[in-house]
Amino acid sequence: MKFIDEFRDPQAVKTLITQIGTALKGVDPSRQPLQIMEVCGGHTHAIFRFGLDKLLPEGIEFVHGPGCPVCVLPRGRIDDAVTLARQPGTLLCSYGDAVRVPGDLGSLLDAKAAGADVRIVYSPLDALALAKQNPDKQVVFFAIGFETTAPATALTLRQARQQGVENFSVLCHHITIGPPLRAILDDPGVRLDGLVAPGHVSMVVGQSPYQFIVEEYRKPVVIAGFEPIDFLTALLGVVRQIADGRAEVENAYKRAVQSAGNAVALRAMAEVFTLAPKSDWRGLGAIDQSGLMLSDAFAEFDAERRFGLKPTQVAEPEGCGCAQVLRGQLRPADCPLFGKACTPSAPVGALMVSSEGACAAYYQYRSPQD
């Protein structure tokens, strides 16, 4: 979609684009194009799907951030899940998004084809129900995602404990949104000017996890919903802050995001999880205190502990440009692997893995010349 009249409210889109152009006039031309990161994979997909970058003035350039949990899931973690799935008497439950992602041992779907009992579930509660229905099996839930899905895992584990479901455990790879942003901002080669933050994560965590970005790095942050008008409104907020020399966390998604987040979800997460000393990110490497592990109080539900699993480390593939794309130093099509060795049907790098990854979106909606 590149024609304004295809939007739900074309006039509002037109007005916002004009306002962004006007705000940009207040920004020192030597700073343009501004590099603005859309943190969330949903926003990345929307930008390409709606052709928003083509509609906007040339003074704005998008950097596609690390907020696609399937993309950043390390290959070693997939191998851990496959290893557990292959154990006799085990039933491994995963979200559908993760089962096609290949690790060194193949994908979970490959493991299923080879005879492992792998089930796709919509909710961790479905995995818990399967554990109750199959008392003779060990049921492992492959828990992935940011703070949008972590509360669901936490609340399910509370239920497992209340109901005394002993054959249920969790292979935990929940991650948090702040630390990868810090790792990217700390890179001396990165020149980000502002960030559009994801509304759905903020619904859970509120505004405070972004506060360090404005206080320590002096970059504006605006929280956005997923409608193109929401996104453009947030982008206008970022450009206006840059023009005014301000750096604040603004919320352009007030209809759903409370500044303090969701208290019930945060309490459940605090009870069930603790920060892991270090977590691996596909495309970014290991980042300190960026992921969640089960707290001591819930350690009995930790599949790694229950099955004596040693986490697998798999090196990033050679020649892969994901790390530079995530830092705004390389466009997807400029990666030597893009569209050749690395395609959505045979992804090599993190950002080609899911349709919310920048490279997969670029591959789907753009010609290589764009």
Binding site: M1, D126, K132, A256
Partner: protein, 92 residues
């Protein structure tokens, strides 16, 4: 998985377990509503909520729900989220 989908709360299934039935495009399923549970649960009836992996995470206005659904549809993500929502059995 991570975008979530808006659905309308149709019934309270189990107040103790904080389970409600939600409906979207004629598909119903039970979800856990503990993150949005109010003092008077009946006030939830008819409201829209954003559903993430079997949990209602926030209440939305009807217009916000419509906007989110139209954005998901236009992104081609609605089919994916709906398939997840409808095809994989109800939360117990």
């Amino acid at each position: 998985m991570c975008l979530g989908v808006p659905a309308r709360i149709e019934a309270i299934v189990d107040a103790e377990q904080q389970l409600v039935t939600v409906a979207l495009s004629g598909v119903e399923r039970n979800v856990n509503a503990s993150c949005i549970w109010p003092e008077s649960p009946e006030t939830l009836l008819g409201q829209w909520a954003l559903i993430h992996v079997g949990f209602a995470m926030a209440l939305l206005s009807e217009s916000e729900a419509e906007q989110t659904l139209s954005a998901l549809a236009a992104m081609g993500a609605e089919e994916h989220e709906m398939a997840d929502f409808s095809g994989l059995g109800g939360a117990q």
